[in-house]
């Protein structure tokens, strides 16, 4: 059903049973969970390997592109099984979203010396790019 909708609709990520979501607010911030059941138009019952089973508002969820195969109202063990079967942990860690989060976390923890080193590395990179650009321009003029 979702694939039929996907081909026609503007929206690509749907709240559905098994949709993996990122918790963006609260104590469990930064964790992944799966939608196990829909409570009402504002809340979903979620569960995940590192998160307690609970009802959470959609306001605090960011949907990912991953879906696991579970029945509605599936128990915690069933969710865990489906999670591992789909390989969500590896998929998540290979995603750009996760990598960007890691990068932001690293940047926030840089010391002043690290930032100095980063500046020097960026200068070096931009110098290399400019040199190569100059060479290409010269080659094109000929």
């Amino acid at each position: 059903r979702t694939s039929a909708i996907l081909s026609k609709m503007v929206y690509k990520r749907f709240v559905e049973i098994g949709r993996v979501a990122f918790v963006s607010f609260g104590e469990d911030q930064g964790k992944l969970c799966a939608v196990v059941d829909i409570v009402d138009q504002n809340r979903a019952l979620i569960d995940g390997p590192n998160i307690r089973r609970q009802a959470i508002g959609f306001k605090f969820l960011h949907l990912t592109g991953f879906v696991i195969q579970i029945g509605h109202g599936a128990g915690t063990t069933a969710v865990k099984k489906a999670w591992e079967k789909e390989g969500i942990e590896e998929k998540w860690q290979q995603s750009r979203w996760y990598k960007k989060l890691q990068m932001k976390a690293t940047r926030r923890q840089l010391s002043d010396f690290d930032r100095f080193k980063l500046m020097k590395v960026k200068q070096r990179r931009s110098w290399l790019i400019k040199m190569e650009m100059g060479r290409l321009k010269k080659a094109q003029k000929k």
Partner: protein, 170 residues
């Protein structure tokens, strides 16, 4: 601190006298924020339904009734009696949720918003878990779909840091 309703079971009776050594015990299930209010409501109903007042009666036990399955979504049917400006009416409302206390909170809020009925005029007559086939309200039955799927539209940017919090999200 958010308002939280709890369900209490209050058991009480008239104080035994020489003429009536074993008076009947009565049990009331009530939704309240604390035991104090639960006992207060117990005497409110006892006064009206039986010839027992707080001054001649005693509360034997107050127990909180906890949710049996807080990790399961259920359909709650709630029967209400409330006073409007021009009369008193019965109502049946449905709420979907993981706990009865949460559903009751929603109902009180709904009664306040839709009917301007304050807490004191709303009486919860009966509550029950309704199987999906017997739900009467479209707002509840629309979620009885094992292949339910909907996108999240009109997403507002929301900060997760208190320092970035704002009253209005443009």
């Amino acid at each position: 601190p958010e308002l939280q309703y709890r369900q209490y079971q209050v058991v009480g009776r008239k104080i035994p006298t020489e003429s009536d050594p074993t008076p009947p015990m009565y049990r009331l299930k009530v939704f309240a924020q604390d035991e104090v209010f639960a006992k207060s409501r117990f005497w409110y109903y006892m006064n009206r339904l039986r010839k027992v007042k707080k001054s001649v009666g005693e509360v034997l036990r107050v127990i909180e009734i906890k949710e049996k399955s807080p990790n399961q979504v259920k359909n709650y049917g709630i029967w209400i009696r409330y006073d409007s400006r021009s009369g008193t009416h019965n109502m049946y409302k449905e709420a979907r949720g993981t706990s009865l206390n949460g559903a009751i909170k929603e109902i009180y809020e709904e009664m306040g918003s839709r009917h301007r009925a304050r807490h004191s005029v709303v009486q919860i007559v009966k509550t029950d878990i309704i199987p999906a086939a017997e739900c009467r309200r479209d707002n509840t039955t629309q979620f009885h779909d094992s292949k339910i799927a909907f996108p999240l539209k009109h997403r507002l940017p929301r900060s997760n840091k208190k320092s970035h919090k704002s009253t209005f999200k443009a």
